[in-house]
Symmetry: C2
Subunit: 198 residues, 2 copies
Amino acid sequence: MIAEPIEDLVRLLARLPGLGPRSARRATLALLKRPDTLLAPLAAALERCAREVRRCSLCGNLDLSDPCAICRDPDRDPTQILVVEGIEDLWAMERTGSFKGRYHVLGGTLSAIDAVGPEELGVDRLLRRVAETPGVEVILALSATVAGQTTTHYLARRLAGSGARITRLGYGLPVGGELNYLDEGTLRAAFEARRPLL
Amino acid sequence: MIAEPIEDLVRLLARLPGLGPRSARRATLALLKRPDTLLAPLAAALERCAREVRRCSLCGNLDLSDPCAICRDPDRDPTQILVVEGIEDLWAMERTGSFKGRYHVLGGTLSAIDAVGPEELGVDRLLRRVAETPGVEVILALSATVAGQTTTHYLARRLAGSGARITRLGYGLPVGGELNYLDEGTLRAAFEARRPLL
């Protein structure tokens, strides 16, 4: 005896990552209790995203225009291409405010199980951009996971001989991280990446 | 450099219970990656809820009509009124499929700190319904928390002398619960509520 549109809302919210049936019910009630300040604005934001957001055909970013605002920004250095697994990584990098180049969003990592090959990751598109940009640096900013590193090595091999400078992010202590909580791999990498202080 | 409607979506989703900024970003990307199967249906469900869902003036339930489908259902026994703290509890009770009476949704528990008094909980409305329904049983189905039990005792006192039969839910082992994981209060209640087997 729960009204159908409420059931629909619970069912759809439960499909979001991080929400199960129980938290979807809580979220639904939170929405229904705030029809004007939360429910209606969320409906409007979704509707606007559905209508206006598109994928950038150059870098794979999601934006209101194609090419995206980053690819069109003349102040962003086209000779630095930072390769990330997903949009969430692009967002994370943008939040640092320290990168002023452009991106290539792979949309995943190579995976035989999930049938994700170089085509799905737009590797040819990346190689073309690299070939067209003399003096480019390609920063491979994938996760330090097995899948991320396998893909990093694959990309480095494909990019070898392109004339581009290929780098990866540095390994080491996470800022704010306590030494005795770190795994051995990170600690070893941090030791090897040590820098002179004096 | 994140598009404004996407930022809006993240910000609004982060206001839902159980979602923080990080999971709101993940949820946003999940939505943007499924524009037709998830994003658009969710926008439509929210829009429909905003337009059609209202509060039942008899019991406080949320439904498409006032009075709600439960209050209007002639097959549901009007001489059983189950009092719950919130809609989520009404939904939980409905999922059991075992209750065929009607509800009173308090919308919370008595709380001096949050300035929730009998008026906010619609206690007078409940008392009127009880007075108008000869032979009614009022089942106080509040949480077994301090706030829930304080409110239960207050309601029992207000309902005393109304002629209604006042009951509360039984305490005991949760079904599927392991004895050695139970707190002492529940175990003591279960012992006191023991039933003859042979």
